[in-house]
């Protein structure tokens, strides 16, 4: 499985799309620096907003785009058949793919963290500490959730549909905390009931109060950080398990 994860990571990192995403993310960090230099006050704010956004957004894009097409592409090309005819279970195949995707996410997020931290720390004299690392880990956790969901949907549907559904869940996951807080103000009765139900059944990125920004600014305590990471890992596990079940049950037809 480890070998398959490495092959998957290598395969993703050999695609032009991956470098296009990384380049746009770097440009976004550069834009933050550019705006920071012309800011009237708190230029550091621009830098870490841009840095955080580029790591989080493009990390998630990578996870969704590659996660959704991973299994359909392997079936289309035929490599899945080649591998699954060897002593590799379908669940092992899915898990290998997920860990490969996660590895790419780690590479991208930490690859972007380096220029971001350098600009933030060296150019803007911001404080460089472990919080950078901890915050980035939470971003990796989030992209793990989205990547595993896209992967799970990709085991039984088309890449386009998987991307659309995952983005939909991503939007809900991001806005769910705010929606749940204000649910009592919703006038439509059924929606007032649906929002708390979604709050309890879908991943909620709002309760993960340990992203890079909050870690950096507020200095989120370690237990909160650990719980957040655990929460995201649990959701990833759930989606990977669903992917395994769906892939084990289906007929492999090209």
């Amino acid at each position: 499985m480890a070998r398959l994860a490495l092959v998957t990571a290598k395969e993703i990192t050999r695609q032009k799309l991956f470098y296009a995403i990384a380049l746009v993310a770097l440009v976004l960090i550069g834009v933050g620096v550019l705006f920071g230099t012309s800011a009237l006050y708190d230029p550091k704010r621009f830098v870490y907003d841009a840095g955080q956004a580029s790591m989080y957004l493009f990390g998630c894009f990578t996870a969704i785009l590659f996660g959704a097409s991973m299994v359909p592409k392997e079936l289309e090309r035929g490599s899945a058949y080649l591998l699954l005819a060897k002593p590799l279970s379908r669940s092992g195949f899915v898990a290998g793919k997920f860990f490969g995707l996660l590895l790419v996410g780690v590479l991208l997020v930490f690859g972007l963290l380096i220029p971001f931290a350098l600009v933030y720390g060296l150019v803007y004299q911001g404080t460089l500490n472990a919080a950078f690392f901890l915050g980035a880990m939470i971003d990796v956790g989030k992209l793990g959730v989205l990547g595993s969901l896209a992967l799970a949907l990709g085991t039984f549907s088309t890449p386009t549909l998987s991307v659309m559904l995952t983005v939909f869940v991503w939007l809900i996951a991001t806005g769910l905390e705010a929606a749940a807080t204000s649910a009592r103000f919703i006038e439509i009765g059924w929606m007032r009931a649906v929002v708390p139900a979604l709050y309890r059944t879908l991943p909620n990125f709002g309760i993960v109060a340990a992203d890079l920004e909050t870690v950096l600014i507020l200095g989120v305590p370690c237990p909160v950080w650990l719980l957040s990471l655990l929460y995201l890992s649990l959701w990833s596990t759930v989606f990977v398990l669903l992917a395994c079940i769906a892939f084990e049950r289906r007929n492999l037809v090209r």
């Binding site: 092959v7 395969e11 035929g78 899945a80 080649l82 005819a85 060897k86 002593p87 007929n251």
Partner: protein, 309 residues
Amino acid sequence: MRAELEAIRVAKLWVGFRVGFWGKRFFALQEVNLGLEKGKTYALIGPNGAGKSTLIRAMLGFLKPTKGTLAILGGSPKEAVLSGKIGYTPENPGLYPHLKGLETLMLAGSLLKLGKITARTQAMRLIERLGLLGHETREVKGYSKGMQQRLALGFSLMGTPELLIWDEPMSGLDPVGRGVVRNLMAELKSEGRTLVFSTHIIPDIEETCDAIVLIDKGKKISEFSPKAFLDESTRGYILKGLGQLAPNGLGADVRVLEAQEGGWALEVPKGSLGETINRLTQTGGAIETLEPIRPSLEELLVDRFLNHG
């Protein structure tokens, strides 16, 4: 056939899918029965869409039977695959384009949990056997289709599996590549391994196969030995030889095609071959060649497909 001698046992197998917008059920295989012996080479022959690939995928557990049973090496397809006793090559090689030739085979080695040294040794031996030596450090995307096909065959051979299932192994191969694969098949046969493959290239199976399984419209039409099939279809023989021919000593049904000084050619009906050879030997004629008069295997198979209804 005794169970321990059986590589594959397919009994009343039906495989169906839901197709189209309304999910109409379509049966790609219908009531297929098959018993394939260990250590033999079998070719699955049939027109496009006949169900050959479906049967192969069912044998590997990629498709679940709708009805019927399937036993591979005495167990379920899943058990057989997970035991590492099967080697499979799909119709399209499906290799990872960015991996090098050697890395590709090493990936198979790691899935089979072979040690790194064992995997490398096996991989290099296969690379040599498949005529890919010198290309092992090149990325697969730079390989020709034929080379990719041969590497995919190498992938299936890693771990020395006892049953090999190949889907169209000859497709995309040039004559040299086909020769390599034909030799490989002969070697595998001499090693006592079971080989099941689908193909459209009939001349290649004449020498290598113990049996041909004809499939059409999801059903098995027949199963037979190509040698026996060809023998059955032989009408007579063309005998060519040297020396003086004594036409009076030959049977009435033997036709002289050519009789020159020092060489001759005869058309001998199937039933008179033994007698004719005896007579020729007695009169001092030296037989140089003996060619059967019969349609090619391809013509015979086409005829059988057209006539089965």
